[in-house]
């Protein structure tokens, strides 16, 4: 087994789906978490040495890989979360990019400081973005029939989608949408109760994001 070292800030953020993959696979790795402060000296020193001046990075026996999507796709293949064939691999990647698109849009809500505007943005997101997303994804789950989004085993798509949806649930976002899409709620429960996932969630550092 290669030596894996993941470096990111001390939050869940973009690294958490990667950490979920390591957890589910039961594979050891060095989980380096550095303070998430703008002028933190650790990050300032590390930044110019990274390929794109960003985190996360993954070191595999010392070789550096950057960009969370690249890291996720690489580890999905190495750790067995890439589906059973090329089409399933493509479908898993497709679903990861789709949830990332939605995450980007929800960021606007997170960044807004005015409480009244925040509530309006959230309502619009629920109607325009999350409900259609849930509509589609309930159909994908029903059509696939295994309880997972792709094929009959856990793929990176399940872990990425679970990660975001569980965060929404924990932060009481889009409660109507969740109520109206029971299969989505069941999916989140299913992944949360996978033994290795459950164990990781219990022991991981508790951070807001």
């Amino acid at each position: 087994m290669p030596h894996y070292k993941l470096t990111y800030f001390d939050i869940m953020g973009l690294a958490e789906p990667i950490r979920l993959m390591f957890a589910q696979a039961g594979v050891e790795y060095e989980n380096v978490m550095i303070p998430d402060e703008d002028d933190d000296p650790t990050w300032e020193k590390l930044k110019p040495t990274t390929p794109h001046c960003q985190l996360p990075i993954l070191e595999v026996d010392g070789k550096v890989l950057a960009q969370s999507v690249a890291i996720s796709n690489y580890l999905a293949k190495k750790l067995g979360f890439d589906g059973q064939n090329e089409w399933e691999s493509a479908k898993a990647q497709e679903l990861v990019q789709a949830i990332n698109d939605v995450r980007q849009q929800v960021r606007a809500w997170r960044k807004e400081e005015d409480e009244k505007k925040k509530a309006e943005i959230l309502k619009k997101l629920e109607h325009d973005v999350v409900t259609p997303y849930f509509d589609r994804h309930e159909k994908f789950l029903a059509k696939n029939g295994s309880g997972y989004f792709v094929g009959s085993h856990v793929t990176q798509a399940d872990l990425h989608i679970f990660n975001t949806l569980q965060w929404w649930q924990n932060n009481h976002l889009f409660t109507e949408a969740f109520k109206n899409h029971p299969k989505i709620g069941e999916f989140v429960e299913k992944i949360a109760n996978l033994p290795n996932i459950k164990k990781w969630i219990e022991k991981r550092p508790k951070t807001a994001v």
């Binding site: 960003q54 890989l65 950057a66 960009q67 999507v69 690249a70 796709n73 990647q93 497709e94 990019q97």
Partner: protein
């Protein structure tokens, strides 16, 4: 060979990376270009209400990154091993980050504001990005970005960097001679040159 059908608008946009992969591989496909009205009618048939979508013997795949990776794997344009494949994705991820910065400039209609945004964009984001990418290219040492032969990322970067070399900041781009040579090298690959000559001429 499966039947491939690519659906997008009548422009280069996000589909051109995919079209360049088909061109380089010399693989036939249906290049389905929709009008705005046709797109409105087609939207609900797509997995996420977005294009491009690729149909492979009728099965639909969405999301540009998933499509380019799938096709690159089928046609031998995805690097020689998992690590090269990952490096390709890393470089692609870097372009997505920059696209997010470019979009406000792209959408700005007021010409004066557009110029201000352009100057800021070039100074704060594009120039450092070009420096990083020229270094990736020269560090690899083969004239290609990954490995020692053309991969899908070379095609994607030809398309993407065209925005800087021909539209946003041609003068700035000239300060990166290795990137300039790269653009010429990839654009001159016989299949790519042939496609560039025959493709519909659209602004973007």
């Amino acid at each position: 060979m499966p039947h491939y059908k690519l659906t997008y608008l009548n422009m280069m946009g996000r589909a051109e990376h995919i079209r360049l992969i088909f061109a380089q591989a010399g693989v036939e496909y249906e290049d389905n270009r929709l009008t705005q009205e046709e797109w409105a009618a087609f939207k609900s048939k797509t997995p996420f209400g977005q294009i491009p979508v690729l149909e492979v013997d009728g099965k639909m795949l969405a999301q540009t990154g998933a499509i380019t990776t799938y096709l690159a794997k089928q046609f031998g344009l995805n690097g020689k091993d998992d690590w090269e494949a990952a490096k390709i994705q890393q470089l692609n991820g870097g372009t997505e980050d920059l696209i997010a910065q470019v979009i406000p400039w792209f959408r700005e209609q007021d010409l004066e504001k557009k110029k201000e945004l352009a100057d800021k964009l070039v100074a704060e984001h594009v120039t450092p990005w070009l420096q990083r990418y020229e270094k990736f290219l020269t560090d690899n040492g083969t004239g290609y970005f990954v490995g020692n032969s053309v991969t899908q990322i070379d095609l994607g970067l030809l398309q993407f960097m065209g925005l800087f070399s021909h539209v946003l900041c041609p003068e700035t781009f000239k300060k990166f001679p290795e990137l300039c040579k790269f653009m010429e090298r990839i654009a001159s690959l016989p299949n790519i040159a042939a496609w560039i000559q025959k493709r519909p001429k659209t602004d973007h």
